[in-house]
């Protein structure tokens, strides 16, 4: 009789240890919101929790899968917003997996070396994306390299086709600049990363364009990003902050 208990206990222990963080988070979220997309499950800095992006929102899930907190976490002693830090880390890790072959790069002209690189999710038919790109020379002049990733929003019908035409043109940067100035990019087709990048943006909870992300994964507010001066200052500040840590 006692053996039965012990064996059951062992089995339970095995079952419990076999559940990966992903399984646990998925299981917990499935009872609350069955259709929610779960991405980027990882160990949280808060002991006893996993953290994940669920439907674009950051959630904290207890390791036993019982409780889910949809919100933000803070490190009290250091006054740190842990959610912002964790989100940045998720973005940084994810962006490192997107190679230069999927980006359209506008780097400062040689011999200038870029001081900072930002990744910008962009859409040919988004007015603020166009305005951002009108200033590309100024960003570059401030030592900022801009890597574009296409993220045509569904609210702009046909923007995905334009992105593809740009992607498939012979001179990609020129075609991009022309399209951002309102010129029809034509309708060339070829193998392209656009749908993959769209899924990728969604998996990071990115809902709009332009979304500007710094080297360390921090999402920069658009009021800052739209100004070359303010963006340069913010990137300097972020670099100094991460050097200090």
């Amino acid at each position: 009789m006692r053996l039965v208990f012990i064996v059951t206990g062992l089995l339970l222990a095995v079952v419990a240890s076999a559940a990966t963080p992903e399984d646990t988070v998925r299981q917990a979220m499935s009872t609350l919101a069955p259709k929610l997309r779960i991405d980027a499950v990882q160990e949280s800095e808060i002991p006893g929790f996993y953290e994940a992006i669920a439907g674009g929102e950051f959630v904290y899930v207890t390791k036993d899968g019982r409780y889910v907190l949809d919100g933000n976490a803070y490190d009290v002693a250091n006054r740190r917003d842990l959610t912002a830090t964790a989100r940045a880390k998720v973005r940084k890790d994810a962006l490192e997996k997107i190679g230069p072959d999927k980006r359209i790069v506008f780097a400062p002209p040689a011999p200038m070396a870029p001081k900072h690189t930002v990744t910008v999710f962009t859409d040919v038919d988004c007015p603020f994306c166009r305005r951002f790109h009108q200033q590309i020379a100024e960003y570059n002049a401030k030592g900022i390299a801009v890597d574009y990733l296409f993220y045509p929003l569904s609210i702009h019908p046909g923007a995905d086709k334009k992105a593809e035409a740009v992607w498939c043109s012979k001179d990609r940067p020129n075609a991009f600049t022309a399209a951002m100035a309102g010129k029809d990019p034509g309708n060339a087709t070829c193998p392209n990363p656009i749908s993959e990048l769209t899924e990728f943006a969604k998996s990071l909870g990115i809902g709009g364009t332009p979304t500007v992300i710094a080297d360390d994964g921090t999402q920069i507010s658009s009021s800052i990003a739209m100004s070359p001066d303010r963006l340069a200052a913010e990137l300097d500040r972020l670099a100094a902050a991460s050097a200090a840590n």
Binding site: L32, T62, A73, V76
Partner: protein
Amino acid sequence: MKLRHCLPLAFAAAFTLSHAAENAEDAAARKALLELVPQAKIDTVEAAPLPGFRQVIVGSQMVYVSDDGKYMLQGTLYDAKSKRDLTASRLAVDHKRKVDAVPVSKRIVFAPPKPKYKITVFTDIDCGYCRKLHSQIAEYNKRGIEVDYLFYPRSGLNTPSFDKAVSVWCAKDRNAAFTAAKAGKAPTPAKCDNPVAEEYRLGQQVGVDGTPTIFAPDGTKIGGYLSPNEMLAKLEHLGTATLAGN
């Protein structure tokens, strides 16, 4: 002389009482929150359903602080097993306590003979949906819903909307004056002892962020305007949900 001695003593006694039940974890949570938000007015600190955490009610909001005071979580806590929103249900209890504490003498009541449900509505004389709601008061009553009004002049204390509320309160026939004002008739200016400022502050304490803000009998914040039929359906649903939840 005597009074000057008595007052500090009374304060000390009250202080001791309210903190008597506080343990080390509660104290750590309180300290952690004040560290991050020095001006926070803490209502309640208690053990959270989340093991290893305290829950702190601040005004109409809830935060969770680890028992060692190191981490603070702000957001909505769900029990994945029962699918319950633990934050909203705890806050509802707190809101109920605060709203129920308002005596009937400080409410403007429109009730049917045998009410099945009682809702508390924070209202502003000058708000469109508040007026729409009140224009249908007989329909709510007919469905067994008692409507208790509390004043929440959105523009704040000592503004024209605030003065109208005071004038209605101080009228001889309060309910008639209320109905007339809701129909757009400017109330005859009047002044007297009134609970308007107190109710306005209570609104802030229970998370009123617009008018009308409607609370169900169990403290659930129903939100804004609902038609008489929608209101009844909502109250019936909440009634069964509460039964199922227990």
